[in-house]
């Protein structure tokens, strides 16, 4: 890393980065609080996490201009861990998540991302949007009509205030107006203060209070693994979006390691695991943020606001927060995927829907991704296992033209394509439009050959490409023919 590049990443866009950082900090606060509530911990945990992650990523991330903090995707994965074992185990899992991500970053495994089909990624964001929306429904239970009215008012302001001014984030305006209304009219509604403690000091370094035993590891490891995968998935997806928006490239392995360092720090300072956020990163770039400075400003300004204005923040009604979260879920959902449905292959749509359904049923994004990847692998194998065999008679010679990929899934169709009872002198199998992939394929070709030879028909193989004939020779030698 040369100094000039580093200097440009930090100070190439000071004014834009500071302004965008402030806008992002304001937009981060309600989300950090709401995601803490989803995870079942005090708002403090999400706010500390957002502060630590944003600040650490500013220094070690691979994608300047991207915003990372406490996120919904991660919060949703922690719910059972927090409910069954408590906060200390969550902090330990957060640190372990970071360590796993650092290992993944150093082993340059981010290339594996390309094996995750697009339809699974679309399913991922859609499922995330649905889960964030569903998490808001419980806030309505047992509430009066005031709750509904305040949520409606919040959404109304969020979507229409930008017509008046775009300088101030409309979510902030909505929260201020709805909070003021609730306070002055003394509505009896639940507030952020009812959901748990807010920070009144800067976070301090603490080692999670857990027994360092094998049993602890077996409890936190599955959560940490799911958190690492989901965190990196969303982070790398966000990085690609920021790459495209800014027309620049970024170091994905460095970003993986950066996410890891950020989570380790977050866990030691009392924060939950987080990752990059699509929505916030888009807001950042749109507001003029492009460098590392914007993430740093966002983190520092966020904690400053909470420490100074904490006693106002506790009075924000949950209705305002629920309204903001409904907007977040609407903008997270990939509406384009609904519009495109008639035009894309049915198998892609099936993979997307299975991913969404798995997540909505299990409340676990990593399981949805897993199900989606497996299903699309099956679809892919089924699609390419179609082998076409055409035949023609040339004199006394029968020519079989094989078209397709020969591997374990396609050998049955391959063998069926030949007529062994025909009365011919010689058979030519033309493999110039085929590819031999594994020993099942080699074996199937040998089987076809010997079946013809049993009937005293000569067999000639032609058109094998280099790779295929190498494999044939290698495996032939092994089986001792």
């Amino acid at each position: 890393m040369n100094i000039a590049k580093l200097k440009n990443e930090w100070f190439g866009n000071v004014r834009g980065d500071i302004l965008a950082g402030i806008v992002v900090a304001l937009a981060l606060i309600p989300e950090a609080i709401a995601f803490s509530i989803i995870a079942g911990v005090d708002p403090m945990v999400g706010l500390y996490a957002s502060f630590c992650i944003a600040v650490v990523i500013a220094f070690v991330g691979g994608r300047p201009g991207m915003i990372s903090a406490a996120t919904g995707a991660m919060a949703l994965l922690m719910v059972t861990l927090v409910a069954e074992h408590g906060l200390e185990y969550l902090l330990a899992a957060t640190i372990l998540t970071g360590i796993i991500q650092i290992v993944i970053g150093f082993s340059k495994l981010s290339v594996l991302m390309k094996f995750i089909p697009r339809s699974v990624m679309v399913g991922f964001v859609n499922a995330l949007a649905i889960l964030i929306f569903m998490a808001q429904i419980e806030h309505f239970q047992g509430e009066s009509w005031i709750m509904y009215a305040l949520v409606a008012l919040t959404l109304f302001i969020i979507y229409l205030f930008p017509k008046v001014s775009k300088a101030v984030p409309s979510t902030l305006v909505a929260i201020i107006i709805v909070s003021a209304l609730a306070i002055f009219m003394s509505f009896d509604v639940r507030t952020v203060g009812d959901m748990g403690a807010l920070p009144d000091t800067l976070p301090i370094f603490l080692i999670p209070d857990i027994p360092l035993t094998w049993e602890t590891l077996t409890i936190i490891f599955p959560y940490a693994l799911a958190l690492s995968i989901v965190g990196l998935l969303e982070s790398l997806l966000t990085a690609s979006i920021v790459d495209d928006m800014t027309d620049t490239d970024s170091d994905k392995d460095k970003e993986c390691r950066g996410q890891g360092y950020a989570n380790v720090v977050s866990g030691f300072f009392g924060g939950m695991a987080g990752c990059a956020m699509i929505g916030q990163s888009v807001i950042n770039v749109k507001s003029g943020g492009a460098g590392r400075l914007s993430a740093l400003v966002a983190g520092v300004f966020l904690i400053f606001l909470i420490l100074v204005l904490g006693n106002l923040v506790v009075q924000i009604p949950m209705a305002a927060l629920a309204g903001v979260m409904i907007m977040v879920s609407i903008s997270t959902f990939d509406w384009n995927s609904i519009k495109m449905m008639p035009r894309i292959p049915k198998t892609d749509t099936t993979v997307m829907l299975v991913t969404v359904a798995t997540v909505v049923i299990t409340h676990d994004l990593s399981k949805g991704v897993f199900a989606g990847v497996i299903l699309s692998a099956i679809f892919f194998a089924a699609k390419i296992s179609k082998v076409k065999i055409t035949s023609s008679m040339i004199g006394t010679q029968k020519v079989y033209q094989v078209n397709g990929q020969l591997f374990f899934a396609s050998v049955t169709d391959f063998t069926k394509g030949f007529d062994f009872n025909e009365d011919v002198e010689q058979v030519k199998i033309d493999l110039s439009a085929a590819h031999v992939w594994d020993d099942s394929a080699v074996e199937a070709i040998e089987k076809v050959k010997s079946k013809f030879e049993q009937k005293h028909i000569k067999v000639k193989l032609t058109g094998l490409n280099q790779e295929s004939s190498n494999l044939m020779n290698k495996l032939d030698g092994l089986s001792g023919h």
Binding site: R118, M121, Y159, K163, S240, D244, M245, V282, D334, N336
Partner: protein, 139 residues
């Protein structure tokens, strides 16, 4: 009178009709030239990355969207250049137009109803207000 024209296009039916008008302005002129600008905003970036993933495919798909317009320009023997910009459509077009010396900016109106215009805003309106050269809005 019109030699260098900026055509704002997004591959839609509206932008195709705008292209026809842009061609009519410069066709047959010796120094006639059309710059096509296609602006990709944040939500478009998000949906394209989700749908296509790798950036080469995204670039290819974006150019493909404009291929009908390109063919039309080629058929009329008009020299042109394609520019893909990132940002909010309105301000990006304005900035691009005011940085180059264009004789005219041609863009389509999306044909939204009053409510949609209120919520989404009118790109053509903003451009017409802030661009320094003549603007042709194709309805």
């Amino acid at each position: 009178m019109y030699k260098k024209v900026l055509l704002a296009a997004d591959g839609s039916e509206h932008s195709y009709r705008s292209a026809e008008h842009a061609i009519a302005l410069v066709e047959g002129k010796e120094e006639g030239h059309i710059d096509i600008i296609y602006v990709v905003d944040g939500s478009k970036s998000k949906s394209d990355v989700l749908q296509y993933g790798n950036s080469e495919l995204i670039q290819h798909k974006r150019k493909e969207k404009l291929s009908a317009i390109e063919k039309k320009l080629q058929a009329h023997n008009v020299t042109y250049e394609l520019h893909i910009e990132h940002g909010e459509p309105g301000p990006s077009i304005v900035k691009f137009a005011n940085n180059g010396e264009y004789d005219c900016v041609v863009l389509g109106s999306r044909g939204l109803n009053q409510l949609q215009t209120m919520v989404l805003g009118s790109v053509s309106h903003k451009v017409a207000k802030r661009v320094n050269c003549p603007v042709m809005i194709v309805k």
